[in-house]
Each structure stands twice: as C-alpha cells, then as structure tokens.
Subunit: 314 residues, 2 copies
C-alpha cells in the first residue's frame, strides 16, 4: 500500500511513528512543511523536517518532542557570548551539525529535497521524506505590539512570543510562486490514501496545501484526517491561536469544515467530540475514537483507525 | 610605545602574552597570518587569528595551545555520522560558534578585518588584532604520494599528514594580488619596533611578509626576531619540514639569514645556539638567552630582552 502523509512537526512525527507500526509493509511518503524554516546565524534550519527525521530515525529528544537526545548547548552559549541574535531559538550542538551540513549542501547548489534525502541517508527514517517545495517559503505573522503593526517570522511569534500576541494574519511568503518539490505530486498521484495527521491545520498542513498544485492533487485521492483539536483545545502547540487568525473556531468540527468535503473524505475525532460523529458533517465520514498519542501503541491504533476508515471510503 | 608583532599561532600567541606583561602600557598591534585559513563545512576557519584571540582573551585550551578550554565535540561527532569530510580537523563545539559568527558576518559583506574586530570585542585580547589581508590567501603544499604530484591545503598537510610527506613547494595562493588589510601598513609605519615572535618563519611570518607592501614597510623599521629554532630543531610544530621545502637549514642562524639583514636588525637565539651570537651574523645583532616559553614569566623575559635589543638598535 502507498500512503502519503502531509506532516508538520511533533504531532506529525508521532503519528508517523504509529503509522509505521500499523502498516509495516506500506510505502510511506511524507510531505513535510517547510514554512517554519528559518535562517539562523546564516544556517538553514528546517524544524519540521528535522523533527520527523529525528523522531523516525531514533535521534529525537523524547521528552520535549523536538531537538536531539543527549543534547548540549555550547554553540548557543558562545553565540550568546558574542551577542549574536536571536537568543530565543534553542539550537543544540548536535542539531547544529544538521543545519551546517544542510547549509553547506544548499550553498553547493543542491535543492532542499536532495539535501533532505542525503540527511535521511544517515537517519533511515523508514519513510521517504520530501519537503513540500524546494523554493523558499516562510510563514510570517502580522501582529501589533509596542513597535506598531508589523510582520514577524512565524518562529519569532511561536517561540519567542509563545503566540501570546494575537495573529492578525498568517502569510506564507513566497508560496504563490513555489513549485512542489520533485516527487511530491507523483507520490500523491500514486498514493492509495492520503493521511492528514494531527498537525497544525493552519501553519503545517495548511501551508503544505497552499503550494500550488498540492491541494488539487490531494483532493483527488481518498483523504482521511486526524483532528488536532480535542474538546475545543489543541492537543499540544497553539493551534487555537492560528485558527483564530484565519477565523476558524477551535473545534474538531470547524477544522474538518475548514479543510472541506472537497478535500477530506474521512475525519477522526476524539471521543470527547463524539457528538460531531453523531451529528455528522456533510460530505465527510466522521468517526470518534481516542486520539491521544500517549505512547507508540496508542499512535499505531489511531493510524490503524485512519487506514480502516480510508479503506471503507475508497 | 607602539609595537607591531607579526604572529602565527601558538608560538606567536604565547610570546604576545609575555609581551603584554613585559610592556603593559604599550600599544600592541598584531598582524595575524591568514594563510592557514580554511573553509570547513562551509564555515571560514582562521586558526592563527583564533589562537591569538583565545590565548590573549583567556579562552584557550592551555594544554594543547589551540582550541577552546572546556570544549566538547558533539558537532564534529554528528558531522562524522553524516559522513561529511574532512574528519581529520578537530573543531570543538565552542570553537564552531566563532566560525559560525565569522561566516555569517563575511556572508553579510563585512571584511575579515571588521569581523575579527567584532569577535575581539568579546574577547578583549588587549591588543589590536588585524588579519594580514582581507583577501583570500591559502597556503598550499605540493607533495607527491600514491595519488601522484599534487597540491593540498596546508592544513591537510599539517594536520592530517603531520607534515610526514615531504613538501616539494609551499605556495601561498592568491598572495600576489592580496592587499594588506586596513590598518596593517599604518600600524607598521607608526611602530617604534616590529617584533617577530618564534612563529613559523615560512608559513606564518613568511606568509605575512609575502603580502605585497608588508615586507618593505617592516624592513624600514627596527625589527627584532626571536628564533623559533633551538639547537637545530623547532621548539614546537614542524617548522623544519617547512624550512626544508624552501631550502633553508633548520638552524637559528639560517633562519636569521633567510629573513636577511635588510629586514632584521636584532635576533635572539637560545643559549644552546650561543655560538651564533659569538660568531655574529653580518648586519644583524645577535644575542643568546633562554628562549623556552615555559611559563608566562619566561615569555615576558624573552619579550623584555627583545624590547631591550630593539631599544639598543633604534
């Protein structure tokens, strides 16, 4: 079976770990969000791609869900001693090596998709990981604060401000001109099913779907999503702040309706949102089941449920 | 008093530490060798400038004489795990931060001299440290080995091969077109004395003197050098292998004669080479005294002797 997953960071990575266990023989292609990418200290940092790669490759810091296990922070300490900004982004020494290799390869002319493949040669994540695009797309957030109305990089809003200042708009700069990376459309076309893990529907899955051509390709397939919202709140992260920015309610129903029946065929909601399944959503098959990815087996169960629903809907 | 020192790495840095103690009120300008510079993993590494900066700024690994104290090597471990070459150059995590900042500033358009000044703003070495040039100069070594006759980067010869393969030639690529960095010629012109520390006379001091304009400016001043050769052998490093490549004997006398009386006014040799002082060198005042920089006070004594000799010759 061929499965395509559109993934952000932690939620996507944990779902993928479950999916690998649920479907050990499947050929899984992950289309990773790169809208969160940021140049820091002259180095290209791809938080979502790395979270997927480290998680599936066994290098992740399990407690925090991102960054490397056994990490030290000496480079960061020294950069701060040199008074180099920003100081709010937490890069560890082991993680720095990834960004150094990536930047060196990009400078040598390799596209991000080739670089990602090279990095995965080491990590052997057991999936094919492709960035949504080789073009530069950067999510910016429009805020108003003491410095007036301005756009800041998504990471500054998310990490430094902890999304505490309301987002007036969220804009993926460069997305209109971005082309899907090699393999993205092909893998979607060949997929038996496309899964949307419980990643952020705005700045992760939403950004991937915003690359011209991807949404149309996905919509043509059997698509099953897992709600990132349980009982009116995001399971983790600050998806509510992102949903508010685009005028979507923080609810399992509203997110499915935001994706829309043209895209989504099936939707898994948590038992806390069982009423959504009971009431139904026009054009989308909704099932309620436990959605907390408390451990690998729980994640695998969710993935199995998603695959079962997809099978039913094909 | 205004003192200019042409410095390589460890020997130059330790001499400078002694000089600062010997002449606490002097205005010391250090013209640093950049021929050893190398791009590694896309980052600009300046071994000699950093050794001077870390040594005088209190961040050096005292035992090995280069690199940072309290260092860890996680970035390097990870780069090796990615199978990124070279693996033979030992960069620590704290050291990496310096190269990251430097590379970022260079990419932003700042010349190396401005970058070095910015880095020194943190380290406060107590001297003005200027690279010999802002232009790219890279020392290469011609060798013949299993792969035939070829030129390799100086660092590969020095660090990977430990200078074990004979150097058929040593060439500072780009030096003919290099311009002295801003402040280099001015500081030499304004100097009361120019000191040559016991740095490598070929690939450190020799390279600095090879930048068009520097040798002439230095030759016009009172110049006192400290022999890096004691009893026919280099005190440290593999200067003998470099001297052999340019057809100069490894002796305190031969190095002074190689610099020549047009450049050198005074020359300190070790007591092991007292006969050189007794026999004299045409046009150069030679004095014998202990030259081992066993500790800070010994280094300061050597610096005092150099300054006394310069005073005598002015």
């Amino acid at each position: 079976m061929r499965i395509v997953v559109l993934a952000g960071g932690i939620g996507g990575a944990r779902f993928l770990r479950g999916l690998k266990r649920a479907a050990p023989d499947a050929e899984i292609t992950v289309i990773g969000n790169t809208g969160d990418d940021i140049f820091l200290f002259g180095l290209k940092v791809c938080p979502d791609l790395d979270t997927v790669m480290y998680t599936l490759g066994g290098g992740i810091n399990e407690e925090q869900g991102w960054g490397r296990a056994g990490e030290t922070f000496h480079v960061k300490e020294e950069l701060a001693a040199y008074e180099v900004e920003p100081t709010w982004f937490n890069l560890g020494d082991r993680d720095f090596a990834t960004h150094i290799v990536r930047t060196q390869m990009l400078s040598a002319g390799y596209p991000l998709s080739a670089v990602t493949e090279a990095l995965c040669h080491r990590w052997r994540p057991g999936v094919r990981l492709i960035p949504m695009t080789d073009d530069r797309v950067e999510t910016h957030v429009v805020i108003t604060d003491g410095q007036g109305r301005r756009a800041i990089h998504f990471q500054e809003w998310w990490v430094r401000l902890r999304a505490s200042v309301p987002a007036e708009a969220i804009v993926a700069i460069g997305i209109e001109d971005a082309k899907p990376a090699p393999g993205v459309l092909e893998s979607i076309e060949q997929a038996d099913v496309v899964l949307l893990p419980p990643s952020n529907p705005v700045v992760s899955v939403g950004t991937i779907l915003g690359v011209p051509g991807i949404r149309e390709a996905v919509a043509a397939k059997t698509v099953v999503g897992v709600s990132p919202i349980i009982g009116g709140a995001p399971v983790r992260g600050m998806a509510d702040a992102c949903l508010r920015a685009i005028g979507v309610e923080t609810s399992a129903r509203a997110v499915a309706e935001h994706y829309g029946p043209d895209l989504l065929d099936g939707w898994l909601v948590d038992e806390a949102d069982a009423e959504v399944a009971e009431q139904g959503i026009e054009g989308i098959a909704v099932r309620a089941r436990p959605l907390l990815m408390t451990d690998l087996e729980a994640s695998a169960d969710i993935a199995r449920a998603a695959l079962r629903l997809a099978e039913e809907l094909r």
